[in-house]
């Protein structure tokens, strides 16, 4: 569904801090994939998500959606098929707007924003029904401002907001990083439920090895802007932490060998 060709993202090009943040030769995300993305800080995971959402523009290479070249479109253009939950619960939603206003903004993703009232009785009823199953008592607080909620409550709402309208891909960037274990568990369960019922295509960045192994049918590891490990559905089923570490060491070893090879050739 999404195809990346010879992508390079370079921050601060032609300056002293030039930084090759992303380098992807050839990569494909298929419809229905649930990819987990791991890698150390600064590995380029967020940049990878930003590239797909259009927040970051590649310096070279092309992005295709269902065979159509969308390299030149921006984040606003792509919002009708790309939904996202941000890492930080505080900045990922509209803190000064009410819960129902946040939902209304999400409802209009992908459609024309016209002069019809943003909030109607039907919409409120829908928001109420979406929130009730969370059992956080949020369905009675629709008129409260978002910033009054806890981080976990805000992330739960972010997730509902991102998935309230149909999309082709859902991007989750370390969305449980700021949450306690119980809340993390809750949000991840909610995510699985939503993903399964709507058969979504998902790209989930996480720092938790457990999460990366427990969820999804495909796992990639990033390192210094490159995708160094790509584990497919068959292999992923039996994947363990140790096996993953082995794989990591192997690829690093290979890189070392290649470097040695280059050196010996000279």
């Amino acid at each position: 569904m999404i195809q990346l060709n010879n992508i390079e993202v370079i921050f601060g090009k032609n300056t002293a801090n030039e930084n090759l943040a992303l380098k992807i030769r050839d990569f494909q995300i298929n419809s229905g994939d649930f990819l987990t993305v791991i890698g150390s800080n600064g590995a380029g995971k967020s940049t990878f998500l930003n590239l797909i959402s259009g927040r970051v523009r590649q310096n070279s290479g092309d992005v295709y959606l269902n065979g159509k070249n969308i390299s030149k479109t921006n984040e606003t253009d792509r919002s009708d098929w790309c939904a996202r939950v941000f890492q930080d619960p505080l900045t990922g939603t509209y803190g000064q707007l009410t819960i129902e206003e946040n939902f209304a903004l999400a409802m209009d993703r992908g459609s024309r924003r016209n002069i019809f009232p943003a909030l109607s009785r039907e919409r409120r009823a829908k928001f109420h029904d979406l929130l009730a199953p969370l059992e956080m008592n949020l369905e009675h607080r629709l008129k409260e401002r978002m910033e009054l909620l806890s981080g976990g409550q805000r992330q739960a709402i972010s997730l509902l907001m991102a998935t309230i309208k149909p999309m082709k891909i859902l991007l989750l960037d370390e969305m449980t990083a700021a949450l306690d274990p119980a809340m993390t568990n809750f949000i991840m369960k909610l995510t699985s439920k939503i993903v399964e019922t709507n058969k979504l295509t998902v790209l989930m960045v996480t720092h938790s090895m457990e999460q990366a192994l427990a969820y999804g049918n495909r796992l990639i590891m990033m390192h210094k802007g490159e995708i160094i490990i790509d584990v497919g559905p068959e292999e992923k089923k039996g994947l363990t932490k140790d096996r993953l570490m082995d794989l990591f060491k192997q690829t690093r070893g290979q890189q070392l060998d290649q470097d040695n090879l280059l050196l010996s050739n000279q």
């Binding site: 939904a83 900045t91 509209y94 707007l97 924003r113 002069i115 009232p117």
Partner: protein, 298 residues
């Protein structure tokens, strides 16, 4: 305080209520500290006066004044969003340029509408009322209509996206909301309303003067902050009507201060008072822990 001056304060309060709505849109709704209002208020007056003197229908003159104001707002948006000039400076550039433009439009620094047909004379004739009653009802009617329209606009799907950009421009593209288009719309509508205020002012008081805009922004801001002190709500209708209320209260306080001869104040001290009121409001909000009152000027 005589009935005459009470009515006068209410009338002027409603005219500045329009300015307050304009400032609410820019400073609060799209979070853009737009100073071009100081230029678009006299721009509205200049366009309106010139057209009336040229024999045009006074309502047509108001309409064109609003168009001119919207254009001025779009220029500020262009400077900030396309040329990437700092928001404050963008507004100052437009405001400064408009000073010259306004003199060009009128051909001189001021114009008088004495004896010309205006919306006041039209209304007085049509409804057989005194010019004084006509002025007051016009000010109220136009301001309330505008407040309703802006309230409906802000409560709409598009209006909500405008407020969204004002509170968190960073996530907005992910929901398909382009900051640039919202800044253009917000500033155009805001300056359009400021020009409407100038046009109405010029017809009610019978003159246009190039320096009449000095301090408009501060009066508008004072009205917005006063309104927020009374009505603590972000709901669109409440916010709009609160700032109109703020403008009326503000004009009232000013006329009492002027009439009562407090500290020997005169009309020319108005801008000083406005600035002090706004500063006091900032200090007040800084020390009151009411989050609702947080003044978010960058």
């Amino acid at each position: 305080m005589s009935l005459y001056s009470i009515l006068g304060a209410i009338q002027l309060g409603f005219v500045y209520g329009l300015v307050a709505i304009a400032v609410l849109l820019s400073f609060r709704m799209i979070n853009f500290p737009d100073l071009s209002v100081d230029g678009s208020f006299p721009l509205g007056a200049a366009v309106c006066a010139t057209m009336i003197l040229g024999g045009w229908d006074p309502w047509m003159a108001i309409f064109c004044a609003m168009l001119a104001g919207a254009g001025a707002g779009a220029i500020t948006a262009f400077l900030s969003e396309n040329v990437k000039i700092l928001d404050l400076l963008s507004g100052i550039l437009t405001m400064t340029a408009l000073y010259s433009v306004n003199i060009r439009i009128m051909g001189r620094p001021n114009q008088s509408l004495l004896g010309k047909e205006t919306i006041v004379t039209q209304a007085a004739e049509r409804f057989s009322i005194s010019p004084m009653a006509a002025k007051l009802s016009i000010a109220i009617a136009i301001c309330v209509t505008m407040a309703l329209l802006v309230g409906i606009f802000l409560a709409s799907r598009f209006g909500l996206s405008l407020r969204a950009v004002g509170t968190n421009a960073n996530v907005s593209p992910a929901y398909g909301i382009s900051k640039k288009s919202r800044i253009y719309t917000g500033l155009s509508v805001s300056n359009c309303i400021a020009a409407l205020a100038g046009a109405v002012f010029c017809q009610l008081y019978g003159f246009a003067d190039v320096s009449m805009g000095v301090g408009t922004i501060v009066i508008g801001l004072a009205a917005v902050i006063l309104g927020e002190a009374f009505v603590r709500s972000w709901a669109p209708f409440a916010a709009v009507f609160a700032c109109v209320l703020g403008a009326i209260i503000y004009r009232f306080t000013i006329s009492i201060a002027l009439e009562g001869d407090v500290f020997g104040l005169t009309t020319s001290d108005l801008n000083l008072i406005s600035s002090i009121v706004v500063t006091a409001a900032f200090l007040f909000t800084k020390y009151s822990r009411q989050k609702n009152l947080t003044v978010k000027v960058k």
